[in-house]
Symmetry: C2
Subunit: 592 residues, 2 copies
């Protein structure tokens, strides 16, 4: 069945359900970044395989909005389907709301499945459409009616994560959530994102690629705690241990109804940006809501001492795997023909040999030459460039280990850098080091620090179009909130225990991309008459290519930082390596 | 009549007007920073002379909220009045709203004069009180009923500012405002802050100390422009020229009523934070409001080329005055007994000899030794320290010239700095230089740059409790919006033409304060594939004391910056000085 016939079927049921337009986003009821196959309805319907995009269908038109990462791919994959490509961020591209207003008659109705949109986004869309006399049906799941061979919901086993990895029991976490509920004068919170559920109940799973989570909902009140999960996913001992910690287990399918029938006097702490429209609205009908960043998200972000120590161990293993990979790469480049795709495979192979390895934490980004300038490039065997002994190779990859999640980028120069290549590389490195060396008072937001990673390149008229840092989970999602280090305002302050990336970059379209990324933990520094100060501990352990560094562009402090970093890398990894590997590492971490 | 008897009288009229509590803020209907005597009712009523504070009176209690700058002064001045001092920002101090809730019975009524509060603040206060079943009468001016010898409204002549200073005619400015109105789908805006009115109509005045503004309101619609001002303040030629530019003149007292009776189909662009509650509410009753940062405020912030060139000229004169002052200071310290108060007087004396000088732009802050650590210290003949030949002297002062407004801080060491003094001084200087050297892409907010001025001291565990930069007017208020460079989020982006201060500092309580402040203009820098970049031009011209600089703490770039700055200072000032003065300046601006 082609996109054309699927959309025709959709139009039939739209007619039947009296809606004139229907929205199909890339989302699931948990608002996950990576989707189970069951929820890839936008992909199934349109034939477009990118990881982001929203399809809008009316009786006469169909259009798909996606961002610049996918313009080329979407053009190819949508060709012949009759679906118009709307390039987000391009001048002249209408917003979905404006497009709908232009295509629909007054008093038309837009339908969508409210479970697939964050409350705040859906609310804004509805408000805009109502201004233009369009009505909305937000409870319409048309996909289930037309997707005949739809993959089932994922049903992999969940498993408990031991205390030696979590550093806190489920009871500890429920206690911490309850303290926050009381501070907010709330009586309960509902947990709808899969990583909030995983963290709170100390469970993990294999339901989604890259994210070690399991399909479940949660509920925590002052007295009760409920995990909504299919019984087939929970074996007896896990169920038993959860019960012992005061957690009731109910079927996954019961969550929505349960949320919509909370006791009327409950005050529910809810995150309007991370709770789907249907759940949020149904609670809003009966209960007072205290709008807040999700409480488990806030608690989860501040890793405890046990989690941090585990992450440090995972970093050693990751560093060993990457050292072996880099040695392989150096040799392979001389010896055999390799391409971007092989490189990604090889990194996974080296990581997979490490203890407690579970999976990659995201699809590797291996961008050689001008592919490096495509921020989210993902090589396929078809698209992969052969890697030659010249220019930059950018490698961004990460692993999920039971004891930690890693995310690292290194950019390697494969021959003699040109002056521009060397200058760009050094500017990126300076940014990464300046953020690494920062100390800052308590109460500081990531927004305030972002420019430290950029100022050196800004002064040369260069910038990068993404944030400098995202939060990273502890054997959880490689992208997690609530903190960030980016130009945009984010009111969340950086707090001890928070782990985030530090990844400035320079992209030269058509030439190369340079990105250097370490993970850094926020930790205590001073306490004096000026208050409390924090600093960063660099967690990632892997040599940084020194070939393209222009030494004269580094300050003495920056030079000291890289030398100290390299001697730490050698010290922590050498004993895990063979003598030959250690010798290679010694050379790569030699003081500048 | 004492504070006690005045408050007793207030309580009588409160009774009469059936309000149980009354708020007296430090404000006027234009929400000015500096008040005409007519509006100093909080001061008249309480006997407390500080520039900030809110008095709250009930039948049984009276309390005054002020900030840490005034704790000592307020304690002294309120002693014996029965007015409780509520120290803002001190643990345990209730907010005014919470205090009211604790003191009043349910269904009590709070009264205030809605013309003296920003709409957004009053709205928030009313909402909180209503939650606690308290009602509010926001149209109650009780002060007029009890203040018998109240000073009249200021009635100094207004004067037109010539095109060679404004760089744009009133018609140009009305045109620019109308373009912004149309962009916002609004039809008019009301101008309630005195500097918005002064800028729009190219008028200035002498109604308020330090701010060269005149008491007036304004109104601009697509077709009309009205200046509400007392006819006695406008001479025939000014009135004539305004009429020629399409401005109608109506009495000051007519503005409020006019605003409350706009045509019903008008959509009014209004700033809820800079428009008083009464005016905003009365418009809200009839008209649609487009909430925005005040349009004239946004336009005014971006100085045009003529204004910038004039400011550069004013800076030369200010630099000459300050050079002469610094020479005088050096000699006076050896020769005679001088104190902080004398120093402030002397600076004004030197400035007043410069062409086009009008007044100081704020009361001088001359803080010797530990007085320097009091951020807004204002020396009186009584409080003034004698200045000896040791330690730091901090001098923050500014002038109003017809061609520009200045604001400058220098901190001078009067003997041999200790290692801590030298290190602190150098950290402040590094911060000031780093911000001066910044280049940044268009779209950058001050919040993103603030840390550049702090990172060096943060890394030593030091911070300062105020912003790094405030906007500065062109022969207008020394503090103007909408941009700022501070840790707090402010969505306004820095744009070419914006002039702001750059004033990092270190305060050692009980020891000394160090602040170094220049004014800097945002100007264009690069334009390339990464977009548009901006940088700063330093406007202030005055040597920076080099005695306490630890040269080894400066990067080569920072050292180069200060040498280039000093050679520019010498180059621009020398020809305006006597040979002897120029020789002194040569020595002070010698390359490091």
């Amino acid at each position: 069945m082609s996109a054309i016939s699927r959309i025709a079927t959709l139009r039939d049921v739209m007619n039947h359900n009296r809606v004139d337009a229907y929205l199909v986003p890339t989302s699931d009821p948990h608002l996950s970044e990576y989707l189970p196959e069951h929820f890839k309805s936008r992909q199934w319907l349109s034939g477009f395989n990118g990881s982001a995009g929203t399809l809008v269908v009316t009786q006469s038109y169909a259009a798909l909005w996606t961002d610049s990462r996918y313009f080329l791919q979407a053009e190819e994959e949508l060709s012949g389907t009759g679906i118009e490509l709307c390039k987000m961020g391009t001048p002249g591209t209408l917003s979905i709301e404006s497009w709908l207003v232009s295509k629909l008659n007054k008093r038309s109705t837009l339908g969508f499945d409210g479970r697939l949109f964050p409350f705040s986004n859906a609310q804004a869309t509805i408000a805009k459409l109502k201004q233009h006399k369009l009505s909305v049906n937000s409870k319409l799941d048309l996909i289930s009616q037309i997707w005949s061979n739809r993959p089932t919901l994922p049903n992999q086993k969940a498993f408990g994560l031991e205390l030696r990895y979590t550093g806190a029991t489920v009871s500890d976490k429920l206690g911490a959530i309850r303290i926050e509920l009381q501070k907010a004068n709330a009586t309960s919170c509902v947990l709808t994102t899969l990583d909030d559920v995983a963290w709170t109940f100390n469970i993990r799973g294999n339901d989604i690629e890259f994210n070690p989570v399991t399909l479940a909902y949660g509920y925590v009140s002052i007295d009760d705690a409920i995990l909504f999960i299919d019984s087939s996913k929970v074996d007896a001992s896990l169920a038993e241990s959860l019960l012992c910690e005061g957690v009731d287990i109910l079927p996954y399918s019961r969550a929505e109804q349960f949320y919509s029938k909370l006791a009327k006097d409950e005050v529910v702490a809810l995150d309007p940006m991370r709770t789907n429209y249907q759940i949020f609205s149904s609670i809003l009908k009966r209960n007072r809501i205290f709008e807040t960043t999700s409480i488990p998200t806030l608690l989860k972000a501040k890793k405890n001492a046990v989690e941090l120590e585990n992450i440090r161990q995972a970093m050693i293993k990751d560093g060993v795997a990457l050292t072996r990979f880099l040695i392989w790469l150096e040799e392979a480049l001389v010896r055999e023909k390799i391409d971007e795709f092989n490189v990604g495979e090889k990194i996974r192979e080296f990581r997979s040999k490490q203890e407690l390895f579970v999976s990659e934490s995201f699809g590797p980004i291996v961008g050689y030459a001008d592919h490096g300038a495509i921020v989210h490039y993902s090589a396929t065997p078809q698209s992969a460039y052969k890697i030659e002994q010249k220019g930059f190779l950018l490698i961004d990859s990460g692993g999920q280990y039971i004891d930690g999640t890693t995310d690292i980028t290194r950019t390697i120069h494969l021959s003699e850098p040109t002056p521009q290549e060397a200058s760009d590389y050094t500017l990126v490195l300076k940014g990464m080091i300046q953020l690494s060396m920062a100390k800052f008072p308590s109460g500081t937001r990531g927004t305030q620090l972002d420019a430290l990673a950029r100022i050196a390149m800004w002064r040369e008229g260069i910038n990068y179009g993404h944030g400098t840092g995202h939060g990273v989970g502890a054997f959880l999602n490689v992208h997690e909130g609530p903190q960030s280090i980016r130009p945009n305002e984010n009111p969340i302050t950086l707090e001890p225990g928070m782990v985030q990336s530090n990844e400035p970059a320079i992209y030269r379209t058509g030439q190369y991309g340079i990105r250097i990324e370490n993970l850094i933990a926020c930790i205590g520094s001073f306490e004096n008459e000026y208050g409390k100060f924090y600093q960063f501990e660099t967690l990632t352990l892997c040599p940084i290519d020194t070939k393209a560094i222009v030494l004269e562009m580094l300050t003495p402090e920056e030079r000291k930082w890289i030398n100290e970093y390299h001697s730490m890398v050698y010290e922590k990894l050498a004993s895990k390596l063979t003598a030959k590997e250690a010798k290679w590492l010694k050379k790569k971490t030699h003081a500048l």
